[in-house]
């Protein structure tokens, strides 16, 4: 496994559990897998949803082999993730006509 530095920018950085630091990975695809494991409770990061840079140059090949000392940037290049719509409570009547609350996606 190569010892690399990973830096996340954009909403990846502000809304994930990992923004920068050392990572061990063989390929760029491994880097994405690492991030998804770090952000288990959040929305999954997909390779195509980011702009990936390797040592300052754009690299779209997820199977690109990494070597010790490489620096990987993951940018959500002025995009932003799709926001989960807030769940609204909707008042409904139960069988007896009593009002109850029910979660409903907005």
């Amino acid at each position: 496994m190569a010892k690399i530095t990973l830096k996340c920018f954009g909403v990846f950085a502000t809304y994930s559990n990992f923004d920068k630091g050392p990572v061990e990975a063989d390929t760029l695809s491994d880097v994405v897998d690492f991030l998804n494991k770090s952000n288990a409770e959040k929305e999954k990061i997909v390779f195509t949803k980011a702009l990936v840079y390797l040592n300052g140059e754009p690299c779209g090949k997820k199977n690109k082999k990494l070597k010790d000392g490489d620096e990987v940037w993951l940018l959500s290049a002025f995009t932003g993730e799709k926001k989960e719509k807030p769940k609204k409570e909707k008042a409904v009547k139960d069988k007896k006509g009593k009002v109850e609350s029910e979660e409903k996606s907005a």
Partner: protein, 629 residues
């Protein structure tokens, strides 16, 4: 007036005689210009004469609103100030998201024309019933916030700070926390001794079809909130979120535009600002995007820096201290100066010093004397008096023209164009000078949203013209230009590495010639599509027939009209240039494609525009109805 949406009147005041009257404006004028900056250009065109200068008594300040402002449409509080710029000598049109425009409409006016000069500091107060010229001697000398604090709290306001009073050539006008920042409109206010303008009223704006407009506004709000740029990136990170992608794409102006990347960019990034300094976000009145950052300076919650300020007072000065930039942004706001031009001037002065062309106390990376320099500029003291005149005049005095980073005399914004050549073309051809928005903002396609090839010249001229024209019309309607981001398909933005994104990026450029045809024959686009809601909003607000094609035509009229006004004011052929650093020096030494091939792109641009060396041909002007002979 048969159109709705408009207030229906234009107010003209004379500060010399302290009188006012109505300026005639017809439905035909509304149809031709929509409003906003195009209306202002039209009014100025009827008035200006060759040889007129910014500080002439007869230089008019024209403040205009758009027809969909005040109609419940999202992100449409914008108003515009146009005048002869003291910085460039040509027309500047400066846009602002403050609440003055909405208040002016409620007072019964779509526009305000300010003529003459006052002998003593004056506060112009406008309401439904009367216009008053009040003594402003107690306001004169105050910073921006204390000035606004002394004015009626519910009124819409426009004020200047000390920089405007002392006619710093890039002084701005403030309305609330928002700025009409570029081109020195604040200096023209100062020259007229106009310290403040307030407007207040209760006149409601009547619309053409209330129900249909309400439906359109609801769709538009949903569209803005669900789009990745306007609904996620901008609210979460603000424009500051652009620092990182700019770094990645080598378009982060560094060391007076000598480079496109800054090693310490993370320290001044939007992510850092959000993580460690953001109190909350906020926005202009009526805005659903809310891109403004609010931060703390001396325990006070104030407006935070935008991208331009971060980039130009950061990497461009080799400064990686975010706290200093946050403070400087606040200081410049209080003094009433354009952060873009100030930063450009400082960077130029630093390089002049470094190269031994002008000995001064400014050095790249040195930040302990900057606040003092700001004060010197605002009050025109010592070297501040030199810096207050802008980079172009400094280069005429000290040399270094090849690295005085301006276009037509106005300093460039933070995008280094040698890795976004379409943006470079835009900077050169922008009517008001080094403005990224008036340029067509192609950098959004060249790496900050889409990823079209940033170095190719193919199609760039046509794409530039399309966006320049269309954004002109969007602005004229009263809308924030950020609303135009929704034209970029969301799925492509969410998956920039996907096959679909690659196809779009290649296809966009390949379609350049088709876009060129569309520019020439906008009637082909006399349609409406659900993705682009402006025509629906304009139609339902005003009753005016509106399509995408008509908006393109109005925008084309406006762009050409402003250009022709500049020609009347003395702009010569061949004025669409960039400094030598950007056209002759490779950003990456040895990589020939990393400079702006301006001459090549200009040929195509002028051909598409119907111009000759930057001057609209007579046939073009006749076709647009700007001249008759």
């Amino acid at each position: 007036m048969s159109y709705k949406g408009y207030a229906g009147k234009v107010l003209k005041v004379d500060l010399s005689s302290k009188t006012y009257e109505e300026y005639p404006w017809t439905d035909a004028d509304r149809d031709r210009t929509l409003g906003g900056k195009i209306m202002a250009a039209d009014i100025l065109y009827r008035h200006i004469k060759p040889g007129m200068k910014a500080y002439d008594e007869d230089n008019w300040l024209v403040v205009t609103t758009g027809p969909i402002s005040g109609c419940g449409c999202p992100s449409t509080s914008r108003f515009n100030i146009s005048t002869i710029s003291p910085l460039t000598g040509i027309i500047t049109s400066s846009n602002c998201g403050g609440n003055f425009g909405l208040s002016l409409k409620k007072a019964g006016y779509d526009a305000l024309i300010i003529t003459g000069k006052s002998e003593a500091p004056v506060h112009l107060d406008i309401n439904e019933d009367k216009v008053e010229f009040k003594d402003a001697s107690e306001l004169w000398g105050l910073h921006v916030t204390p000035t606004q604090d002394k004015l009626p709290p519910k009124a819409g306001k426009m004020v200047i700070g000390p920089a405007g009073e002392n006619k710093v050539l890039y002084a701005c006008v403030f309305s609330g926390e928002r700025t009409a920042g570029r081109g020195g409109v604040g200096a023209v206010f100062g020259d007229k001794k106009l310290k403040a303008v307030t407007a207040d009223g209760r006149i409601p704006t009547e619309v053409f079809d209330k129900e249909k407009l309400k439906e359109t506004n609801k769709k538009w709000t949903t569209q803005l909130r669900s789009h990745p740029l306007t609904g996620s990136q901008l609210p979460r990170l603000g424009t500051a979120g652009l620092v990182s992608p700019m770094q990645a794409h080598r378009i982060l102006a560094t060391k007076n535009f000598a480079q496109g990347r800054f090693d310490d960019f993370e320290k001044i990034s939007g992510e850092e600002l959000t993580k460690n300094h953001l109190v909350k976000n906020s926005g202009c009145t009526t805005c659903v995007i809310q891109c403004t950052r609010r931060v703390k300076v001396d325990e006070k919650v104030v407006k935070g820096p935008e991208l331009e300020t971060l980039g130009l007072l950061g990497p461009n000065l080799l400064n990686s201290d975010l706290e200093s930039i946050i403070r400087w942004n606040y200081e410049l706001d209080e003094l009433g100066m354009d952060t873009i031009s100030v930063a450009g001037v400082l960077a130029f002065a630093m390089e002049l010093n470094e190269k031994g062309l002008w000995e001064n106390p400014l050095e790249f990376g040195k930040i302990d004397n900057i606040s003092e320099i700001f004060e010197d500029i605002a009050y025109r003291r010592g070297i501040g008096d030199i810096l207050a005149d802008g980079a172009k005049r400094m280069s005429e005095r000290f040399g270094g023209k090849e690295f005085a980073i301006h276009a037509k005399g106005m300093e460039l914004s933070a995008y280094e164009p040698r890795s976004a050549v379409g943006q470079g073309l835009g900077y050169a051809t922008s009517n008001r000078g080094g403005c990224h928005l008036n340029a067509g903002y192609l950098v959004v396609l060249e790496g900050l949203g889409l990823n079209i090839d940033p170095y190719t010249t193919f199609g760039k001229a046509a794409i530039n013209i399309f966006f320049q024209n269309f954004m002109e019309a969007i602005s004229a309607a009263g809308s924030c230009l950020f609303t135009s981001y929704t034209i970029i398909p969301a799925p492509v933005l969410r998956n920039p590495g996907s096959f679909m994104a690659k196809v779009v990026n290649i296809g966009f450029v390949a379609l350049g010639p088709v876009i060129g045809l569309l520019n020439r024959f906008p009637f082909v686009a006399n349609i409406n599509v659900p993705l682009i809601l402006y025509p629906y909003a304009i139609k339902h607000a005003t009753g005016m027939k509106m399509t995408i094609g008509k908006m393109m035509k109005v925008g084309e009229y406006g762009y050409n009209l402003e250009r022709y006004c500049n020609i009347i004011l003395g702009q010569e052929a061949g004025a669409d240039i960039l400094p030598g650093r950007l056209t002759d020096e490779e950003q990456i030494p040895g990589d020939k494609k990393t400079k702006v091939p301006l001459d090549k792109m200009l040929k195509s641009y002028y051909r598409n525009r119907g111009w000759e060396n930057g001057v609209p041909k007579k046939s073009k002007l006749k076709k647009l109805g700007i001249i008759t002979e």
